[in-house]
């Protein structure tokens, strides 16, 4: 017996000992592209697994941002920063302004994040009649984000108030949305009725936010893309049990007539457009990437990848608009974290980042300087101010909204609302030219080397609403801003392009939805126009007078009209809400403070700050220019 045991036991041990260990994925070096600071990659995870993630691939460090979560290493910067997960099936993402908007389909939420820090500013839950709306895709236009939801609706989100302010009905199960020429195009898939899908594209007028037309297309339209005067929509058709596949086509819609003008027999799954060409992958062709000439429907390149790189399962494609580098996410087998592959314009693989997230579905280029801090616990106070002394906005379309005026509010209560907003990272508006806020730092901002304090706004490229900064030190030590004020000179004062001491008087409109007329000290006149996007009164409701006057430094007009769009250009330096938030763009040096005669103030530190809108600008699309403030930081405090 013993002999038998002696034979069997080693056999058992050998069986147990020769188990090979599993190998996890490895990483590779990233190459920068077109001046972007990096790319965000959104991964939807697995259905009902709550494992959507947001990853950041940094072009400066050349790798994906990783950290150690409770379960091990993680590329999910969302959880790192916010201490919670995005949710289930994050389906789409756009970078708009300085914010990142993510739709989380199964959780039925919209996450609004600061693109530079990944901090969630707001989570909006979308539902109707107790049923989750299942948001699917989004697009943005003129300060609003539009979300199509699977329950047959499109919801508008005001990016400043961060609220869903209107919802309209479209066709069944919308599965794509895009925007061009002042209209939204929504593909109504009806995909939840497999036997009887929808076959329309809804056209929505952006200004009135009403559906103006339904264009009939083939059955089951899905992905939809805008390119100038054309909209391209993928129509999948009805599943064919003979071929066990879809018979998918691409329609071209002329946005002048809103008619289908061409149908290409090309089975596209997903594509991205640059310079009139579409880089796509399709049904029936495995991982092949092809290039299509959109004007003619001719395939320009039937196999874009020239170096034999194999893509198992392309899940999204993004083309850098200027360099034409092509970014493809490979979902592999849908359960393994997928990869991001970057190809040169001639189809050579430049690099591959593996294990970036499960089912990576969206890539977004980011120009902000990013800095992710690890979550430290709930109810964190943002910024370093602890008092708001005075808040007096000039009339404007966000006044009485940011922060919200409620019956009974007065100047004092509005000031406390501003403090709460700024400490929570919510936006406040200064309204038109001259509107201001005065705040106090919790400790003296010491004048050190380089930038000393930072003020974040909501500026993004082509949308600058510059505000002028004043500073003051609590010389008499009474804790009140009754000491000498010094102006921070930015590029325009320095170059002599600014008009100091410009006075303006705004009249109170007779009606709540009336325009607010103004007169300047040089006898210029104009009005703050009431628009359809914001219906509340624009004149500060808590202010008793029938007119309100301001004196401020007037900066040059920064509004120009190009290619059907108003461009609000940024100034060189030294203003709030002038450039996208970053340490470089939003920071100020106390050394820039000057006396009234323009000579350096030579302050050793400051305690108070005043921000005042420095531009008079108004256009018929975006309304008046109003400086917005989201947070104020002391860069020299111990916590930094």
């Amino acid at each position: 017996m013993k002999r038998t045991l002696n034979k069997i036991l080693p056999l058992l041990l050998i069986t147990l000992a020769c188990d090979p260990e599993p190998v996890l994925l490895e990483q590779s070096q990233v190459i920068a592209d077109a001046g972007h600071s990096g790319v965000y990659v959104l991964s939807e995870g697995l259905f009902n697994q709550n494992n959507s993630t947001l990853s950041w691939i940094d072009f400066t460090t050349g790798k994906a941002d990783s950290w150690t979560s409770a379960t091990g290493y993680s590329f999910d910067v969302f959880e790192k920063v916010n201490g919670r997960r995005i949710g289930d099936t994050a389906n789409d993402m756009i970078l708009y302004g300085s914010r990142l908007y993510i739709v989380v389909s199964e959780s039925s939420t919209i996450e609004i994040l600061d693109a530079s820090t990944c901090t969630s500013r707001k989570q909006i839950t979308l539902s109707s009649n107790g049923r989750a709306s299942q948001p699917r895709y989004l697009t943005a236009h003129n300060g609003f984000v539009y979300v199509c939801c699977f329950d047959g609706t499109v919801t508008r989100i005001d990016t400043l108030t961060m609220t869903a302010d209107a919802t309209i009905s479209v066709g069944r199960n919308p599965d794509g949305i895009c925007c061009t020429n002042g209209k939204l195009y929504v593909s109504n898939s009806g995909g939840l009725d497999t036997q009887n899908p929808d076959n329309t594209v809804s056209v929505i007028d952006i200004n009135t936010f009403t559906e103006v037309k339904r264009i009939t297309v083939r059955s089951n339209p899905g992905a939809i893309y805008a390119d100038g005067n054309s909209v391209y929509v993928v129509s999948r058709g009805i599943f064919d049990y003979g071929t066990m596949n879809y018979d998918s086509r691409l329609h071209r819609i002329d946005t002048q007539t809103d008619e289908v003008v061409a149908t290409y027999d090309i089975p596209i799954l997903k594509m991205d457009i640059a310079d009139g060409k579409a880089w796509f992958y399709g049904y029936g062709a495995g991982g092949t990437i092809q290039v299509l000439d959109l004007a003619t429907g001719r395939i320009l390149d039937s196999d874009f990848i020239t170096d034999g790189t194999r893509i198992e399962c392309p899940y999204t494609i993004k083309v850098e608009p200027t360099t034409h580098k092509v970014y493809v996410c490979d979902a592999l087998d849908y359960v393994t974290p997928g990869s991001l592959l970057c190809f040169s314009p001639d189809g050579h693989l430049l690099y591959r980042v593996q294990g970036i997230g499960i089912n990576p579905n969206t890539v977004g280029f980011c120009d902000e300087n990013v800095n992710f801090s690890t979550y430290q616990g709930p109810s964190e106070i943002i910024g370093d101010i602890d008092r708001v002394f005075e808040y007096m906005p000039a009339p404007g379309q966000f006044v009485n909204l940011l922060p919200k005026y409620e019956e009974g509010d007065n100047a004092e209560s509005m000031a406390s609302k501003c403090l709460i907003a700024l400490q929570s990272g919510y936006t406040i508006t200064l309204g038109g030219f001259g509107g201001y806020i005065t705040a106090g730092f919790n400790t003296t901002v010491v004048n050190g080397q380089g930038p000393d304090f930072r003020i974040d706004g909501n500026a993004h490229s082509g949308s600058a609403e510059p505000g002028v900064v004043w500073v003051s030190a609590d010389v008499n030590g009474n804790g009140l801003p009754d000491d000498q004020w010094y102006e921070i000179w930015g590029s325009e004062q320095k170059e002599g392009r600014a008009t100091p001491g410009y006075s303006i008087t705004y009249g109170k409109p007779a009606a709540d939805d009336g325009d607010s007329e103004w007169t300047g000290s040089d006898s210029r006149t104009g009005s703050i126009l009431h628009n359809s996007f914001h219906s509340q009164p624009y004149y500060p409701q808590w202010y008793q007078g029938n007119s309100v006057s301001f004196t401020a430094t007037l900066l040059p007009d920064n509004v120009s009209y190009q290619d059907g769009q108003y461009i609000m250009s940024a100034f060189g330096f030294g203003y709030v809400d002038n450039m996208p938030n970053s340490l470089e763009n939003s920071s100020f040096d106390i050394d820039w403070a000057v006396k009234s005669d323009g000579t350096p103030a030579n302050l050793s530190g400051i305690d108070f700050i005043k921000i005042q809108n420095g531009v008079i600008g108004c256009n018929t699309i975006t309304g008046e220019l109003s400086t917005e403030v989201t947070a104020i930081y002391n860069l020299n405090s111990k916590s930094q």
């Binding site: 038998t4 069997i8 069986t15 190998v23 919670r84 949710g87 289930d88 839950t125 066990m244 087998d333």
Partner: protein, 664 residues
Amino acid sequence: MSFDVKYCLIAICTLRFHPEAQGQVLSDTMRTKDIPQVTITSDRTTNPNSVSASKKADSRLMQATGTLQVSDVLKYFSGATVKDYGGVGGLKTVSVRGLGASHTAVAYDGIIITDNQTGQIDLGKFSGSQAESVRMVSGPDNDMLQPAALAAQAAVISVNTGRPNLEDAKSKISAQLKYGSFNTLSAQAGSAFKAGQSNTVSLQGEWLKTKGNYPYTQSNGASSSQMRRENSDVQRLRIEGALFSDLSHNTTLTTRAYWFQSEQGLPANILYNENAARERLWNRNGFVQSTLTTDVSQRLSLRFNAKYGITYTRYLDPKVSNTQGRTDNRYTEQEGYLSGVALYRITDCLSASAGVDGRLSGLDGNGADQAQPTRYTVNSTAALKYASERFTATGRLNHVITKEKTKLRQAAESYNHLSPTAGLNWLAWPAAGLHLRASFSNTFRLPTFNDLYFEQIGRRDLRPERASVTSAGIVIENEASGISYSVYADAYNSNVKDRIMAVPGKNTAVWMMKNIGRITTHGLETGLEIRSQEGTVRPAMLVSYTYQRSMDKSDSNGTTWNHQLPYTPRHSASAVTWIETPYVNASCNLLYSGEYFCNGYNGPEYRMPSYCEVGCSLWRDFAVKSFELTLKAECINLTDSRYELVRNYPMPGRQLRFTATLEL
């Protein structure tokens, strides 16, 4: 992912989530008449003469482990991996030796339960009180009268109701009331009586209702919140009656009629921000089955089985963004089954058997797009067995042939498949009761109706999924000074080839079922059991340990190469101990599972932490006149351990349960 794919997957997940448990019945004829030399002690949980690893839970073990549902006691079997979605209504499937749940057959009183739609049997649907014993054989069975369909399975879990033992009494009546945490109430009544000299009738009814709204902790990154499970109510009713007839001294006929109906909410996945569980599920299942066993002569024995069963399933999601505003799926599956086995004892030691099973199964649904398949299956089997005092050898050849028809679209091709099994058992050291055993089985599972026909995912060209297991082990069973003990250790190697999995098709928008995967498992099952058989104070203990290394061997260049199969811990263990005294009986039990993964890719994001669950109970029998009253108090998950067995499906925390049983 395109919505089509996503929603097809939801649908297939949903279907996977509520497979039909069909009950079936018939008396356990495991008395192995062909080897009269060996007597098997009824309360042993390991069968030392078996050529395969064999575990059995008797009524004592089920009492000690607090078996509300049959799946509860299976968690204590080494080699079995129970996947549990939590709560009474949560789906519970069992995978044996890394082969996957669809390779584990479930038999109710000797007749296989099939679910051609999903291939999975929910073992949570069998109540602990309807089973006299539960047995699991991982490999070829010694039973030569096993029907062909069961003989062709890699592993069989047998739920045996047992024949009422009336002894001298004319009749027996029992009633039981259970009340437990989360508003769980169950009532059961049964009676057994003699009808004439040779007939025994048994009737049983059971009703269970639970709200199941247990609290759980929802963790989300650094934060966590206290939630309650919603829509997890269950209501079940089971009525069955059996007639045991001794037609002659060597012929028995058992006939059973069974009815089961349930309504339940589908326990929801934890979904961050959206916890609207609202799906409902209704089941109705009825069958009549009959088994005739006869010893024609000393040498020839025959067994015939017949069954007709119907299963109705309704799934409702009342809020869906389609035209109807809801998804309301109804399925009816019908089955007719006939089986015959003949055993011929050629010599005292050598016997041969042959059997044929025929089955007709059809699935009908309310969708316009349903294929409505019908499958004709013929299983045949032929076996040889040599059994001497110290040596048992079995060899068996199984064959299956199917033919399939559909009302809509093309049907799958016929399957024609041959598969062998073999086993050895040698009483190597009689004085110590030490046996060595080894077995080999080559089995398969047919594609289910969902695999073949489900909407856009099903593919008609699937091959059967093949499994092979080689196992060797040692078992010692002995008794000394009133204490019986057994120790066993079985090592095995299993392979699953042509795994049927949902994968992206030739393009990524259309998923399809495909024979793609391959799994290799090395495993070790070991256990120890000690029971005191004498005296007024009788302690008992049962400990088991399982090692399973299940490796993905699908593609050596793939990212999951060598990764551990999901929901398969490498290490798991269990322990049960109980003591019977004249005053009170007490038990304590423990389940441990090491870390495992909830996905085929073993990345850290899929890691599931290890968990340990402890429970205990106290019970006592009182004799009140001619009644016997048993009162029992149990605490399940004593330490209130909060864990998930299936990712995002929390398990219940601490629970109390009180049971009163009255017998006359």
